[in-house]
């Protein structure tokens, strides 16, 4: 059967050149980079080269500001907890937004349990936050602000550079972290232009391997490790380095940044075509997120009267891979926290669908997707009691009572 992959915000295929490099450092040059002998030395060198590749890609001043870890989630944990613990004597207030990835939101929840004061800022209808919102939330206790560069579910881009500038102009030193997992390789990501002190991302969203991530920590930023062990990664992240994945990530980010503009132009064109076709051919549909301030290959929709998972399953049967923010795909009864934060009613948020394009996708695949989606939505709507505008009774099931809490 024909297969179309439209879920690049979830993960990407590893670029063949990157895969070859990873393979080499698993089978041929497998030494421990900390070893003094030749087996170790021949890995240490490319590992440090990868650090230089990352440094260059994000415009960092020093290679020592780059630490590798197991992925975006660990990187965010390291950044937030490390900065919070190290600056506790200066204040206990942390600011973040309602649409962050769970790796930031849940870490902030945990920090709140540990005694930190956490402000979760609401967003506008597009999932955006303004500089003023952040400025108004600052207190004389604020030590840390964490805001994602671009949203994984709806693709909206946050004004990170402007927020960073405002934070820098404050009298007190406030550490600014951005989660750049979705934006690296898609938007210009430069730590100085963005005015950030910490920036995190992972390898597998940019055609690199899974299980590898980066934490950038600006020199002079107060921070402490959250893991203890050997002296690897300048004690920021102890444990034997995942050298094959680090070397793979280095090459992947180098390619992603080099091809970014060309790639973004192509993906924006494909996405605009997809969005136009979907919205013009399916009534009662809407685009989620900002119409223009959005990631190049990212489209998020809501289709009224149908539920996301049933669309996802139907598309899957046609070989098309997308994702949904419906409750049924999250394993809970609540639809996506991002869509709800944007003020989308629950019943509509259940009918959400996320399409994220990547470098191997074609215009023909976009047509294949839309041609399949139209009859699927039609079929499911025919089955739905909502289409007729029927009145809805309160849900009596125990599960829903829980979800209201």
């Amino acid at each position: 059967m024909r297969r179309v992959y439209f879920d690049h915000a979830a993960t990407t295929p590893v670029d063949p050149e990157v895969a070859e490099l990873v393979m080499k450092y698993m089978t041929e040059s497998y030494g421990n980079p900390s070893s003094v002998h030749s087996f170790g030395r021949e890995v240490k060198k490319p590992l440090e080269y990868a650090r230089e590749q990352v440094r260059k890609a994000i415009g960092a001043a020093h290679v020592g500001e780059i630490a590798f870890c197991s992925g975006g989630t660990e990187a965010a944990n390291m950044a937030l907890r490390g900065a919070a613990y190290a600056n506790r004597q200066k204040g206990n207030h942390i600011i973040t937004t309602a649409v962050e990835h769970h790796c930031v939101l849940t870490t902030c929840e945990q920090l709140a349990k540990e005694g930190f004061e956490v402000t979760v800022l609401p967003v506008d209808q597009y999932g955006r936050i303004s500089v003023e919102d952040v400025a108004n939330a600052l207190t004389d206790q604020t030590i840390l602000v964490s805001i994602m560069h671009a949203n994984n579910e709806v693709g909206t881009i946050m004004p990170i550079a402007e927020i960073g500038k405002m934070l820098k102009s404050q009298e007190r030193r406030i550490i600014f972290h951005t989660d750049a997992v979705q934006s690296i390789g898609k938007l210009p990501v430069d730590v100085d232009q963005l005015n950030v002190d910490m920036l995190t991302f992972s390898g597998h969203k940019i055609y690199g391997p899974k299980g590898i991530g980066v934490m950038y920590l600006r020199r002079g930023t107060w921070w402490q490790p959250i893991m203890y062990g050997g002296g690897q990664e300048r004690r920021r992240r102890p444990g034997t380095e995942n050298a094959p994945a680090i070397i793979g990530l280095g090459r992947a980010v180098e390619m992603a940044v080099a091809n970014r503009e060309e790639e973004a132009e192509k993906l924006t064109k494909l996405r605009d075509k997809l969005v136009d076709r979907v919205l013009s051919s399916i009534p009662n549909s809407r685009l989620n997120g900002h119409p223009t301030e959005r990631l190049p290959g990212h489209a998020s929709f809501c289709f009224e009267f149908v539920e996301g998972e049933s669309m996802l399953l139907s598309l899957d049967m046609q070989g098309i891979a997308i994702s949904s923010g419906s409750a049924c795909t999250s394993g809970s009864l609540e639809p996506s926290h991002v869509l709800l934060a944007m003020g989308i009613p629950k019943e509509i948020a259940h009918g959400s669908l996320r399409v994220t394009l990547g470098k191997y996708n074609t215009e023909e695949e976009v047509d294949y997707f839309v041609d399949n989606l139209i009859p699927i939505v039609e079929r499911l709507r025919k089955m739905s009691p909502l289409t007729g505008g029927g009145a809805c009774t309160p849900c009596a099931c125990a599960g829903c009572d829980q979800s209201k809490k």
Binding site: C328, H350, A396, C400
Partner: protein
């Protein structure tokens, strides 16, 4: 994730639609929870002569709706009341644990429709 039977009922649901002159209608669920099931019954001599459903929901919700209509068709009302959500899930060769919420609606919708019929009979 889903059994072949679930996928079959999701892809080719039995008894979808409305019965315009239904003797009874039952509806459970809420759009904000992500699923609503509506069951229409045509009843003759206390027996379910025809049954149809409309569902807004995930794959499991659609499959359980389809299955419950198959199980209830031609049953007497008392027999149909004995159909449990668990029985519907078993008939579909099981459902993933996180989907038990959806399967907890199908039999409830059927029972709500029968309840609706009996209330009407009392009133008549």
């Amino acid at each position: 994730m889903y059994s072949e039977k679930v996928m079959d009922h999701f892809t080719n649901p039995r008894n979808v639609g409305e019965i315009p002159d239904a003797d009874a209608v039952g509806q459970v669920g809420n759009p904000s929870c992500g699923d609503i099931m509506k069951i229409f019954l045509k009843i003759k001599d206390d027996r379910i002569e025809d049954i149809k459903f409309q569902t807004f929901g995930c794959g499991a919700a659609i499959a359980t709706s389809s299955m419950v209509t198959e199980m209830a068709k031609n049953k007497t009302l008392d027999e149909a009341l004995k159909i449990t959500n668990k029985a519907v899930a078993e008939e579909l060769d099981g459902l993933p644990p996180q989907k038990m919420h959806c399967s907890n609606l199908a039999a409830d919708a059927l029972h709500a429709a029968i309840e609706n019929y009996r209330q009407k009979q009392k009133g008549a």
